[in-house]
Symmetry: C2
Subunit: 412 residues, 2 copies
């Protein structure tokens, strides 16, 4: 029997009415002759409410205790969805991350899955049960409850799909797939029916919320296709799959992220600079987007470095800043109120034409670029937040909307 | 270092302010040189709110899924209390029932502890941590999450205290111990500084809310003293401990319980009568207070039986009634709106004087006794609920308040 893994995010299970609707949807899929594993997030804003409770007790709640606290959110949803499916007359069983065999390292609040042993899931499917999994969580080899960080429920779903060798993995949310830019922000944004794993990963790193990069990695390794769909509005979808090796896509999407900060620092040596900061970063789990160090010629005994942080995704940016200051003992220059604007596409950096065009475009609209970086499939510009809106609209028009006329990777 | 197990009920941890106050209290106790294990209930009405969510999905939520759902309540409290203790500058770690090694049978929603292996708790104490335990829950040998039924957090606390060979077990709630009757209902109720395990167990069975009978059983077996105290008003307390074998106590307390029903039934044989009903009882986890069957002489082929149910403690009395009707296939006569009024005391049934006095007392106030039963330390009368108030006041005055003048077990 085909195995389908479905993931429903917090807004799709925000209240009992939505949970009932999801139950009906899942039962229809089961009745159509599939084995179904459903991975759920916490209901609506539950996670934020639980964090707020903890923060009222202390500004620096322990990461282990936060994991104990937050994992209850997904467990509540999984039990309620299972009960709702029973009410529809189907068999279902809810399982925790631990019961699903999701084994992680012990890095609380941002654990990585090191192994998935879905024996129990397979047994329950074999018994004819719909399996409802509390997402976002695992168990460490020390038997501690861990969470998988932002977007962790996606990771649970795709990792389980890979371990179960599922036929497909469906990610349901309030949007019907991936767009060439955020449709709320860019009027000409186009729906993308298909993108590659790599493009999705770069988009996630650049700030797109649809699916996180770790999750896509599991699909990439196992070759499972991911379908991103809207929970309650069937129709369009985006399939995320392996690329066809021969073609370049040009710029597929423009992705933006607000609340970005650039941390600049100066130390006596590169080691001095990096090690202290990396320790602080590690302690406050600051996910660094870009990190670079250099030892400029004019100051041979001083190293200068900088990195880019996405402050909104940090559990506590104020605490992280303090830890960086405490750890650094060197000059620290933190510039906040910035934004990152990224162009994504297979092969867009095969030559420098896209980078050059992007720089020219910012000049045309008078938006200063504070930093720039590229990776294989991405060009990211750090801008002032108040330049973001028009820069985004302009880049999208220049690179994506007009793509059919002038393919950017040919143009120079 | 002395080991102290403390239990805090739902009203003691109902909000963050109370959790902070408990954290301070626990830290003082730790600073005084004790190893502390704290067992907590869900905050305030959380459990009822979660049940209400499930009931909106179906009238008959699966017991396994309810356990998955409800255990999150205690986990939230345990993580928050641990975070609050960190904020006080002490070390603490929260543990689930499973992590504490509380192994149960697989009877969901009313599991019994079959073994406690508190290895992890001991390790954490050894590391200098205050250990915060999510009460009311365990893990079955099938690795399923189970709950221990009404009062289950008490059971967690006392079972852990016994397994840890703790010096004492302290049960904190909103009352400062055990009284000779409910002070809210009986004006002359007296505080009892000391009672025996057996008396406490009989009181619990008869409807007293202070501490459940299963919990006391663990203390009785291990000989650990239980201190029942008020969380926020230190002062009086009741010690529950082994009896001094030589003395009779006479009537120590009058305990009442409302929402009682008597289920009478007639079947072809005693086996017919009992087995079907016991199956139905089992399925709906109806905790039976009294069960008796007889095969009356005038109907040699018909068995007649009855049992007493406390309807308020059932998850769903309507469902239980239906299951009894479906299972029975014999005549069923359910009388509701009743109350149980019990006299408790070591040795009160050594002769029949107390029973006789109780019957006479009800005659004096014109309250008909619908059923009567006795056990070693208890005399229970089933009355109409609207006779309960004055019957309770009258029995308390006759047996407890005047005890110093005329010890009832001497009087005839």
């Amino acid at each position: 029997m085909p195995v389908i893994v479905q993931k429903y995010g917090g807004s799709s299970v925000a209240d009992l009415e939505k949970i009932r609707a999801i139950a009906k949807k899942v039962c229809r899929c089961k009745a159509a002759g599939n084995d179904i594993v459903v991975v759920v997030s916490a209901m609506g804003k539950t996670t934020n409410e639980l964090i707020a409770l903890a923060k009222q007790l202390t500004n620096t709640p322990s990461r282990r205790e936060l994991d104990m606290l937050l994992t209850t959110g997904e467990r509540i949803t999984s039990a309620l969805l299972s009960i709702a499916i029973h009410a529809e007359g189907h068999r279902a069983v809810s399982l925790t991350g631990s019961q699903c065999g999701i084994i992680t390292n012990d890095r609380h609040s941002n654990a990585r899955i090191i192994e998935v042993r879905p024996v129990r899931v397979e047994d329950e499917l074999h018994r004819g049960n719909i399996v409802i999994v509390a997402g976002f969580q695992g168990v460490s080899y020390k038997k501690e409850i861990t969470t998988l960080g932002r977007g962790g429920t996606d990771t649970t779903a795709v990792a389980l799909a890979a371990a179960l060798n599922a036929n497909q993995c469906e990610i349901y949310s309030d949007v019907d797939g991936v767009y060439s830019a955020d449709p709320k922000e860019v009027s000409e944004a186009k729906h993308l029916p298909e993108i590659t794993y790599e493009e999705m990963q770069e988009m996630a790193v650049a700030g797109a919320k649809v699916l996180n990069a770790d999750a896509v990695e599991f699909a990439k390794k196992s070759g499972i296709a991911i379908y991103a769909r809207a929970s309650f509005h069937p129709g369009k979808e985006t399939v995320i799959r392996r690329d066809t090796p021969t073609e370049d896509h040009g710029v597929r999407a423009v992705v933006s992220e607000k609340n970005v900060a650039v941390v600049g620092l100066v130390g006596k040596t590169v080691t001095d600079c990096t090690l202290n900061i990396l320790n602080a970063v590690d302690e406050t789990i600051t996910p660094i987007k870009e990190l670079r160090f250099q030892c400029p010629e004019e100051h041979p005994t001083w190293a200068r470095g900088s990195f880019v942080v996405s402050t909104a995704t940090l559990p506590d940016w104020d605490r992280a800043k303090q830890a960086l200051r405490d750890a650094g003992r060197q000059e620290l220059d933190i510039e906040e109120g910035l934004a990152a604007l990224s162009l994504i596409g297979l092969g867009i950096n095969r030559d420098t034409s896209n980078v050059r065009q992007a720089i020219l475009a910012m000049e045309e609209i008078g938006a200063p670029i504070l930093a720039l970086s590229t990776s294989r499939f991405r060009i990211s510009l750090i801008l002032r937040e108040n330049d973001l809106e028009r820069a985004q609209e302009y880049l999208h028009r220049k690179f994506v909307a007009k793509q059919n006329r002038i393919p950017p990777c040919v143009e120079t």
